[in-house]
């Protein structure tokens, strides 16, 4: 009789262990996936363009407006891969 109880208790312990391990594994996999997702983020937002004089944005000397309209990445003052 005591052997039967011992088997039942042991089976229960094993079941709990297996279920707990599986749950921990799922949680671990989930945390790994979320860590990977967290690292797969877009690059940084562009830095602010600089101040403008009282003459306003129209004119050849207004570099911030020129940067905003520029076709090339370099002139647009966009981030580079060294500081993503």
């Amino acid at each position: 009789m005591s052997r039967l109880w011992a088997r039942i208790v042991l089976s229960g312990v094993l079941l709990i262990t297996v279920c707990g391990g599986a749950a921990a594994g799922i949680a671990g996999a989930s945390s790994v996936e979320s860590a990977l997702e967290g690292a797969l983020q877009p690059s940084a937002a562009p830095a602010l363009l600089g101040p403008i004089t009282e003459a306003g944005r129209k004119g050849w000397a207004c570099k911030p407006e020129q940067a905003a309209a520029a076709r090339t990445v370099r002139q647009a003052e966009l981030p580079d891969a060294a500081a993503p």
Binding site: L40, P42, S43, L48, G50, P51, E54, A81, A82, P84
Partner: protein, 272 residues
């Protein structure tokens, strides 16, 4: 004798007149040609606006944002015409952003655009501020308008792509970064961001290709190499993924958190 004396006197007189002319001084600030009170007030106000712009911009050049902001606030309070009103708001927005007053910065850039609806630099800065304060809806609306006004602008395309990615709109992100790459195929960040959009859509093969191009262009781009490891892992290429994570973990110039995560990923991958 009298004739000679007269001629000499004329020569001396002519020479002294020339010297006198050379000694005259120009007036720096012309005196107001009016006695009208309103006109004098307008002149004084114009002078104050000019001086405050000079002081405010000088402070911004030195990074003295707290000193710059009140100068532009005073100009705005004086309600000057365009382009000064929108420009003062734009410059105030820059000062607020650097002071961490992001809501005030967004309001200032918004007002600048209200005063000058085609103010591209103000749109660019409003998007950056909105991204920082998490207002993706406004950032997207401004980015869409920015693209409409300047379809070939690299900054407009990049900003719209970043906003779209943050919103989870991978289709719009692919379009923006694709167009940016058409005009500048050498831009590693555009390849990286395009790969992020493709990865989120489960398009691993083209994502891998974009990341490899990004790394060819910028071999020290750790975040792209980490993304490559992730894509390779999802493609079932475990040995290659492990090698990519290992390279990131060993990169002495890389971000510490990224290196630690890459090291953990490398150690977790068991290869047959």
């Amino acid at each position: 004798m009298t004739v000679r004396t007269l001629a000499a006197a004329l020569i001396v007189f002519a020479a002294s007149a020339g010297i006198g002319g050379a000694q005259t001084y120009g007036s720096g600030t012309p005196p107001p040609r009016t006695t009208d009170v309103h006109a004098l007030r307008a002149l004084a106000q114009a002078r104050e606006i000019h001086e405050r712009f000079e002081i405010g911009l000088g402070a911004e050049r030195q990074g003295a944002w707290a000193a710059a902001a009140p100068e532009f606030e005073r100009i705005i309070a004086l309600r000057p015409g365009e382009p000064q009103f929108s420009t003062a708001n734009y410059d105030a927005g820059i000062a607020y952003a650097h002071l961490g007053r992001l809501d005030d910065a967004a309001r200032a850039f918004r007002t600048a655009i209200g005063g000058d609806p085609e103010f591209l630099a103000a749109m660019a800065n409003l998007i950056s501020v909105d991204l920082s304060r998490g207002d993706l809806r406004e950032a997207r609306a401004v980015a869409d308008r920015f693209i409409t006004l300047a379809p070939d602008s690299a900054r407009a395309l990049y900003s719209r792509g970043i906003v779209a990615l943050r919103q989870g709109d991978t289709a719009a992100a692919r379009v923006s970064f694709g167009r940016l790459l058409q005009s500048d195929p050498q831009y590693a960040l555009a390849h990286y961001n395009l790969a992020i959009a493709q990865t989120r859509d489960g398009r691993y093969a083209p994502a891998e290709q974009e990341l490899r191009i990004a790394l060819d262009l910028a071999p020290s781009y750790s975040r792209a190499r980490f993304a490559l490891g992730t894509v390779l892992l999802r493609e079932g290429k475990r040995a290659q993924a492990r090698a990519a994570f290992d390279a990131v973990a060993r990169d002495p110039g890389g971000d510490v958190a990224l290196r630690n995560l890459a090291g953990a990923m490398r150690d977790a991958i068991t290869t047959p």
